[in-house]
């Protein structure tokens, strides 16, 4: 049922309870039997996703390796999360917490990323010409861009992931980073 919400809202941010219900194979009233209101449903979904994402990211050990290596790990993990849960890029998530929270509502993601960025700057591995908040925002924005290219069918999952990772590294790392030629063949215009 939450799965249905995650799937539907990933495609249609303004989906109604009805839409979610049919996707779950039940009828609207049944949804209300489990969640008293739309807000409650969204809240439960976000809690679920938060736990899921947090557990993935917590298993990463970002504090031991040098910041650039940690960033690479983080990028791999965050990209696979984005692939699995497109809804995370949807305004549904951001709209869930209107009060002036953090600059962004991807709390479980941004918290660790922020920490990592701070460390990378302290150790001189990351660029430090702009506010930390900017780096975090830019990384997320590139995640959005890649996810969008993916759902629009403009790029394959591998292409989008590679573009995302490379671009973030170019943006964040102090030195050119030797441009690791990852697993994907980057034919310069072979989109879908």
């Amino acid at each position: 049922m939450l799965d249905a919400a995650i799937a539907v809202l990933g495609r249609q941010a303004e989906a109604s309870i009805e839409d979610i219900a049919v996707a779950a194979g039940v009828v609207r009233q049944t949804v209300y039997a489990h969640f008293p209101s739309r807000k409650a449903l969204l809240g439960a979904m976000i809690d679920y996703l938060t736990a899921e994402v947090a557990s993935t990211l917590d298993a990463l050990d970002l504090k031991t390796p040098p910041a650039d290596e940690a960033l690479r790990r983080w990028l791999s993990a965050s990209w696979s999360i984005i692939e699995r849960y497109p809804v995370l890029l949807s305004p549904v998530i951001a709209d869930a917490a209107p009060p002036g929270d953090e600059y962004d509502r991807h709390r479980p993601v941004t918290a660790q990323l922020m920490e990592l960025v701070r460390r990378g700057r302290r150790t001189g591995v990351f660029e430090a010409r702009h506010p930390e908040a900017w780096i975090v925002t830019a990384v997320i924005a590139l995640g959005h861009a890649a996810g969008q290219q993916l759902t629009a069918g403009q790029m394959s999952p591998n292409e989008a992931g590679a573009a995302y990772r490379d671009s973030v590294l170019r943006l964040v790392l102090r030195q050119p980073a030797a441009e690791d030629g990852s697993s994907t063949k980057t034919t310069s215009s072979g989109a879908q």
Copy 2:
């Protein structure tokens, strides 16, 4: 009246006709006296913005200078446009053309940018490891990020603009680009 729509929709993408009307200092029915429907209003607004943006960008001469210099000009111009018309970053614009148009609906902007990117790659000045569409999307995404930081009050206009420009250059240019220390004082965390 269109100005009111531009202003209101820039802050509230899902604003109603009522909202736009009061912002324009009139009453809802008066809006309908000028535009037969919501779609017509949005259409007129988009046409107006398109013309405005196109005229700004056409006055730029992006084809004469080397691609990197042209990109810098384009960034300056596009940033001032973003500052002037935050609504351009709103989903209102993208939602206006659902049919499988271009990868994006910022047509007047993307067309020239795409052209520029192509040239930069041909002349070896720009990175070419990923599809052209990715570069365009990423640039727009960074524009969104900067605009969002701005409207969220996280960064000053100068900070956001500098971050936007620098980040795009880092992303697109083949060589480090000597990091021009532009007009803005980039104190590394002096937001607001």
